[in-house]
Each structure stands twice: as structure tokens, then as C-alpha cells.
Subunit: 357 residues, 2 copies
């Protein structure tokens, strides 16, 4: 496995003639490593909706590559460029709505729209420009991951123990992940890192996906249930906690997969540094603090019958937020592609904003 190439785990690639995309079907992990080729807008939409591809950055890459492949396929049939433009508009609207909360999907689709509008010429010319732009989005995503890894690897020693939650790894991105990027960079440099992965109920992205990808890369990984993190800290203290984030407020409060907040409280209790690793696109400068971050609630059945078996009484209510908010005061540092940002975040993250405008 060449960790420096885009999508090193086969997360996503073009099929041979670029009229389709091939994704790793993440719903089948860890029992099956199965690729699926998608050549229709229905297929791409279904793959995003049903979490065959997941992780905000990877969903963005999928939307962009999907639109390019569909355009390439239609261009081969030889239509007029106006027909392709009409088809594209329909596909883009449909895919953008597949998972409305993932900000990267809308962002990537918008980049593709802009390229389409800026490209004159035949449908073949348009398709070529879209293929190029989607390829660029993938490469940029992989570079963003690499940069986060380079900034974070300095926090690891010769043999460190890292605790992580959910999956903010390669399979959530087009590269080597966000929270796991320092572990992969360290692995390339010969560091012996041991990772403990919370299984992460209800959907088990930790045990199904994080454990699978680290093991596939030859990195020492051990699975625990979410409730075991406290016991682990008490007996075999991890050196650092690395987690991803779905949205970071201007003051540094960070929303991430449910269970992250409890982990942060335990880390503080045990004096373990707690880092949030995410691209700058995750920072929402309009949200002044965590209370402005909307929290998605998930279906009760993900808890009640998530394993195909009834594990709670049918009529008993379930409270199931998908995310929680970790207050900035519990976060030792936020690592983006630009570096390690320290408190007060209103200043360190604010400087990023100033730099980007």
C-alpha cells in the first residue's frame, strides 16, 4: 500500500474508461472487502445515502468524481453540449440532496458546476474539464490529510499509545484520514504506534472501519467498547487522544460523533492531551460557540435493532443524538492542514479566517 497516493485503501477510483467510479463498499466491512462500480446517478445517490461511501471529505470527492464520470459517459454517446449541460444540472441537484448535512458534498458539487459553466466547446471538452477538476478535488483532499498528518506526527514518540473514536481515518477521506493521519505518517517513519479504537455505537464505525483500515496498513490496533475507555485510561494510560470533527465553532467547541465529549472529560481527568484533527473547511466561523451547531438525531432502530436483532423493547423510546459537542476548554489543540492551533481558539482559528480572505 502506497500511503502517499490518493485513496491508498481503494476508497474510490475511476473505472478503466472514466465513465464510472469504483468505490469500496464500506457497509460490508469488516467481513467483506468488496468494490462496487457506479455508472448511474441512481447508483451514486444510493451509495451515498446508504453509507457505502461515508465521511464528509470522501462524500465530497464521490460527488465530484461521480458527476465527472456521468458526464464522460454521456459525452461518449455524442450529444450536443447543451444536452450534457441539462443532464448535469439534474444530476448535480440530485446528488447534492443525497446527504444534505455533509457540507463537503455541496461544496464539491459547486466546484464542478463552476467548471462546467466556465468551459465552452463540445461535450467531450466539457467532460474532460470535469474529469480534471474531480481529480484535483481528490488530490487536494489527499494533500490536506497528509498535511494534517505531518503537523500531528510530532506529538507521537517512538512508541505511543493513541486512543480514537469513530472513524476519521483514510476511509472518511480521499487520503490517509484526519485523526489517523499522524499515525500513518508515523508508520511510514518507523514509529511503533498502538491504537485503541472505540467501537462507537450505534453504527460501529470504530470496530468495523477504523480497526479494518489500521490492520490493513499493518498498524497495531485493539478494539474496545465505548464504555471501556475510562478503564483503559485508569490501567494503561494512552499518550494522546485523536478525534475528528464534523463542525468546529469559532471558539473551538467541536461537534463530533456521539461519545467524543465523554472521552474528552475522561482525558482531562487523566491528564491525557486531547486533539481534534480536521480540515479548515470544518470550521464554521459563523457559529460563535457549540450551542449554534445543530445536532442531528438518528433513527431509534439503529440502536434497537442495529445488529439485525431486537436489542431493546420495540415500544421503549430511544434518545439518539448522532453528535455531541466537546467544549473548547477540554481540547488541547486543533490540528488542521495549516498547523496545530492552540487556545484561545477565537484567536488561533480566527487568524486562519483572516488568512483565507
Amino acid at each position: 500500500m502506497d500511503l502517499s497516493s490518493p485513496a491508498p485503501f481503494g476508497q474510490i477510483r475511476w473505472d478503466d474508461d472514466r465513465t464510472g467510479i469504483v468505490i469500496l463498499d464500506q457497509t460490508r466491512l469488516p467481513s467483506e472487502v468488496k468494490e462496487v462500480t457506479l455508472r448511474t446517478v441512481e447508483g451514486i445517490e444510493e451509495a451515498i445515502k446508504s453509507l457505502r461511501v461515508r465521511g464528509a471529505p470522501l462524500i465530497g470527492v464521490t460527488g465530484a468524481m461521480g458527476l465527472a464520470a456521468l458526464s464522460c459517459g454521456e459525452a461518449r454517446q455524442g450529444p450536443l453540449s447543451e444536452e450534457l449541460r441539462t443532464s448535469f444540472a439534474g444530476w448535480a441537484d440530485r446528488l447534492a440532496a443525497a446527504r444534505p448535512t455533509a457540507v463537503n458534498l455541496a461544496w464539491a458539487i459547486n466546484r464542478m458546476r463552476v467548471v462546467l459553466e466556465a468551459t465552452p466547446g463540445s461535450s467531450t471538452d466539457i467532460a474532460a474539464a470535469l474529469i480534471e477538476e474531480a481529480g484535483l478535488i481528490l488530490i487536494e483532499d489527499a494533500r490536506m490529510c497528509r498535511a494534517i498528518g505531518e503537523h500531528g506526527v510530532g506529538l507521537l514518540g517512538e512508541s505511543s499509545v493513541v486512543l480514537t473514536h469513530c472513524n476519521a481515518g483514510a476511509l472518511a477521506t480521499g487520503g490517509i484520514g484526519t485523526a489517523l493521519a499522524p499515525v500513518y505518517v508515523g508508520h511510514e517513519r518507523g514509529l511503533r504506534t498502538r491504537v485503541f479504537a472505540d467501537e462507537t455505537r450505534p453504527l460501529l464505525q470504530g470496530s468495523r472501519i477504523t480497526a479494518w483500515e489500521l490492520d490493513a496498513a499493518g498498524i497495531d490496533v485493539t478494539v474496545i467498547t465505548d464504555g471501556m475507555a475510562g478503564a483503559l485510561m485508569a490501567v494503561d494510560t494512552p499518550d494522546v487522544v485523536f478525534v475528528g470533527s464534523d463542525r468546529i465553532a469559532a471558539n473551538g467547541d467541536a461537534a463530533n460523533k456521539i461519545g467524543t465529549y465523554g472521552l474528552a472529560v475522561l482525558a482531562e481527568q487523566h491528564g491525557i492531551p486531547f486533539y481534534v484533527l480536521a480540515p479548515t473547511s470544518t470550521i464554521d466561523h459563523h457559529a460563535s460557540d457549540g450551542s449554534a451547531i445543530p445536532i442531528e438525531f438518528r433513527s431509534a432502530d439503529e440502536i434497537r435493532r442495529g445488529f439485525g436483532r431486537l436489542t431493546a423493547p420495540e415500544n421503549v423510546p430511544v434518545w439518539s443524538p448522532a453528535f455531541d459537542v466537546t467544549p473548547a476548554r477540554l481540547i488541547t489543540g486543533i490540528i488542521t492542514e495549516h498547523g496545530i492551533h492552540e487556545p484561545p481558539y477565537i484567536e488561533s482559528l480566527g487568524a486562519l479566517r483572516a488568512g483565507s480572505t
Copy 2:
């Protein structure tokens, strides 16, 4: 349902002629409410080993009632009393080894042995004495639960929110439970208590059993995953946390189902009182603190394929302690059948010991 009767949820009862015991098969909850009649030592042993009956107090009751029923069955065949004594010794050894860590099982079986030795006369006389003793053990257990409930109910208001972990409810005992006893007593008195139940990975005793029994009793219960407790405290703060315990050290450190420690840390962070409810038989005065409590580790497959589906890679190791230790400093009070004991526990629990000798 008459909560004041022993085993009000049908946890365990004699069959009609007292030559067998009828238990509620807890492995089938919540999808099936199914009783199983046990008339052989093999059947009783299997039911204990495979957790069809579980919870330290209820296992003790099951061992005692099981031995009495087996003796009653053999007495009906009309053997000499010496033959019954020999059979009993074999059954007792076998059942005592079914779950060696549950101290109540050995304790209950020992009480039965003492009665056997103290009873002269025919095999029918012996069987009658054993039936009486086992019935007493059940009633005492139910009374212990009731006393814990009476002491704890004062902590509940007209409408309180209680958070609990695992199952230290009726189905772990011969009565109305330990951690849930105050909730049941409050329910009888018209208090409107709302309970949040951690599902409690890996074996889901919270969502499968706690949710089932509270719902069956008409008490408002909501299931959350273990990782959601922090978010719950942040947005809809529970008034109190009630948990059980498997062993309490002399200084008040308490071992309980894995995940309890993390809950205690979160409760402290949010200023929520955290109570441990357990019979005095749970206190191990020989263990000076939590480090003297041995922690059982469970099979990796309970996490990897606990629901019949592979949810972590087969070859990836799993770290799976069954219990963790909550340090005494995080425990607001320990509630036993004798009252609410406050810190310093070395004194308040020590006084119980002095009183019992």
C-alpha cells in the same frame, strides 16, 4: 404486578410440585418472554452458565431453590436419606462451580449445605427443610431489595430523572432490584420517575433487561448508548445516577459493570449525585481498596460478534474487561439494606462490619 411479593417479575418460582424451578429466560429478552422449567442439575447449571438467570443475588437464589427442588424430586423416588445426602453433595459442588466469581452463589449453596447437615430424619424430612431454607433465601433477598428501595426513595422528588447502567434491577435479584429499587418504591408511592438506561455494551443488559422490566412495570424508560450519557448530562441533566456493584472495597471503591467509572467521572463533572446501591454482602472488608478487586476479562467474541454478525475484523485484538472500579471519591453515597452510608467509607462501611460480628 405486586411489587411487594418475592420475584414480582416471575424471575424465579417453584413449579407446582416443588420438584423443579421455573425461571424467566433472560437471554431471550426483550423479543420473547419465555419461562423455562428446570428439573435436572444439568439444566440448572446450563441456565446459570449461559446467563438465562443472572445477577449475583438471583444466581444465589437459583442455586438454593435448584438444590431444594432436585432434593425434593429425588425424595419422591423414596431413597434412603444417605443416598440423598450423597446426591446433594454432587449437585452442590457442580452448581457452586457454574459461575465461580459470583460470591452469592457459593454463599447460598453453603447455607443449603448447613441445613442439610443439621437435618436428621428421612429424605422427605431433608427435602422439606431444604425447600424451607431456599424459600427463606428468596424472601430475604426480596426484603433486602425493599430495604434498599426504602432508603433510596428519599433521594427522588415528585418527578426525578434517574440515569442507570447495566441491570441492577429486579431481574438481577429475587425482589425489586438494588439500583432500581428506589424507582419501584417511588412508583408505588406515585412519584413520576423517568429513567435513562445505558444499553451497556457488550451484552446489552441495559437495553435488553433494564428497559424491559421498567417498561413492564409501567415506568417511563428511555434507552441510550453508553457514549450518549455525556451528551444527556449536558442537555437534560439527570437528577441522580443509581448503579449496582459486584464488589465494594473497605474504602468504598466499587467494582461494577464496565462503563460505570466513566459515568461517575461525567456525573462529577456535571455535579450529579452518584449512588452505588448493593446489599452489605457485596462489601469485601478484606479488600482495602479497589486495586485488590480482581477484574474478570471476557471473550473477544462478545464484542466482535455479539449479535451474530462480525462487527470487528476477526484477527484484530479486543480488550474486554467485564468490570471497572469507581474510586470512592466519586461516590456520593453507598445504599445498603441498612441505610445510606456516606464518606469516609472506611468508617461508615466499617461500622456495618462491627455491627455484623
